[in-house]
């Protein structure tokens, strides 16, 4: 049932392949050039897929000590940095510790830590006392709770590539149901490794365009052949709109609606007609008390896999009408950061509302005729209205978030 509590997005923080500052992220997206590159951070020569969208130096030294970083997997480090930036960005928050909450999402959690402990060491591996606390899925939530004195709920959701979207949606619910006054919510992922690249390649999910990585992520294009792996983290600060306005906070957007559905169909494939995605978008709109006509833009899940884009485009067409709403894919520029993707795209969607403009989808040379949607090819000004962000996942987990301009 839709809630009468209005929730504002007042802080944003990121660690992405397009930079760690909102301005850098937004400008890179607006330029519409992919950040995918051949991997140089480890020996990837022998791999069938040797490119990705990687995050540069996370620039953590100002935010965590060397000893704290030693106890964090890279995923956690990215999360803690992005969350800290989001809290700083939100300005002075007045919620007492007991009324604060954190909700994180991740797919593979501390994969790097786990691989370091297990690979090359025989059947027992070589775990250290830090292997479990560094690799557990809730590690980022734990660190964020400690850093920001969160004494209320601290939880983690893991729904593969929808984790970040679900984390923010569940954060919205914590505000609405009175569990917390301020929620730091987002997602993180850092699992670009030979094993994980090989694993995704072997299930046929990755683009194989090794000779031209910058052209590899091409959502909705007729020649798309899979997604490009990425890493990153993004967090938002959520609070009641009324409280945000009272303290004079800058409101990027309202988080007005959240939908979550399941395909209940297949471990990796979406329902071919996008039925699960359609129900998810409709549920999010109902939750936001909006009709499809109120939506001016969709930030698509848009992975660039043949199956996702076709199913998602069909679902979007059914909900909004053919070509009736502009659609873009952030993954065309910064790749697919798996459990972080939904959170990064929520940040981009909030910025889309805030700036009143949509960024283009990179590498769209020829629209797949099966995808009957209006894909943004150049930066486009938007009429004031709602922006819907989709996140779908292996396992058939779907999440949709609806952002609206504040004060509407």
């Amino acid at each position: 049932m839709a809630s009468s509590t209005r929730v504002a997005v007042t802080g944003l923080g990121v660690r992405t392949p397009a930079g760690h500052h909102l301005k850098d992220l937004w400008e890179t997206l607006a330029a519409g050039h992919s950040t995918a590159r051949t991997i140089t951070s480890f020996a990837a020569d022998g791999l069938p897929v040797n490119f990705a969208c990687q995050v540069g130096d996370p620039k953590w030294a100002e935010l965590v000590t060397v000893r704290q970083a030693h106890r964090m997997d890279r995923t956690t480090l990215l999360a803690v940095c992005a969350a800290a930036d989001a809290v700083t960005d939100a300005g002075e928050l007045h919620a007492p510790p007991e009324r604060r909450a954190v909700m994180t999402g991740t797919g593979q959690a501390g994969n790097e830590t786990y691989e370091q402990a297990m690979l090359g060491y025989g059947e027992f591996g070589n775990p250290t006392p830090l292997t479990v606390p560094k690799s557990m899925h809730n590690a980022a939530a734990a660190w964020i709770s400690m850093r920001h004195q969160v004494l209320g709920p601290s939880l983690t959701v893991s729904s593969a590539c929808a984790s970040g979207g679900h984390a923010i949606g569940e954060g919205l619910r914590l505000i609405r149901d009175g569990s917390a006054d301020v929620v730091v919510a987002g997602g993180a992922e850092a699992c670009i490794s030979p094993s994980v690249l090989l694993a995704f390649h072997r299930c046929g999910a990755l683009s194989r365009r090794v000779t031209d990585p910058e052209r590899a992520s091409r959502p909705f294009d007729i020649d798309r052949d899979g997604f490009v792996m990425a890493e990153g983290a993004a967090f938002v600060v959520l609070e009641r709109l009324e409280a945000a306005l009272r303290r004079g906070a800058r409101v990027y957007a309202e988080l007005a609606g959240y939908g979550r559905t399941s395909d209940a169909y297949h471990l990796t494939m979406p329902v071919p007609d996008g039925g699960g995605a359609e129900r998810c978008m409709r549920q999010a709109l109902t939750d936001a008390r909006l009709s499809p006509g109120h939506v001016v833009h969709v930030n698509a899940h848009g992975t660039g896999t043949p199956l996702n884009d076709l199913a998602e485009a069909q679902a979007i067409s059914r909900v909004f009408g053919s070509g009736q709403v502009s659609v873009t894919s952030t993954k065309s520029v910064i790749g697919h950061a798996l459990g972080a993707a939904g959170a990064i795209e929520a940040v981009v969607s909030a910025l889309t509302v805030f700036h009143g403009a949509a960024h283009p989808t990179a590498n769209l040379d020829t629209l797949d005729p099966g995808c009957d949607v209006d894909v943004v090819r150049a930066p486009r000004a938007l009429a004031p209205g709602a922006v819907l962000s989709n996140s779908f996942a292996f396992g058939g987990h779907n999440a949709s978030l609806v952002f609206t301009p504040s004060g509407t």
Partner: protein
Amino acid sequence: MPVSTPIPAWKGHLRVSDEEIFEELRSLCVSLLDADPAALSPATDLRRDLEADSLDLAELVTAAEVRFGHPFDFDLALRMQTLADAVTLVRATVDRDRSAQPG
């Protein structure tokens, strides 16, 4: 900062001196606890001076096991106060294992 690969450099027949044990422990404190090597002495208190908690001590013990190639009495190791205590523990363990070797 991954712990170095498990090469049991001191295992078996090698006779390791207390000074060598201390130097190995010093290097572990630097890599695992971000300690200033110049500030470390046998009198250094692991908890008070290096702010080591139980997880730090467990990590130190595990890394030392790998470095010296001997399993330590974990409960005893967690009761160490100073680096000198740690040297004593390693010394006792190495000597015990040497004397237990056949021949």
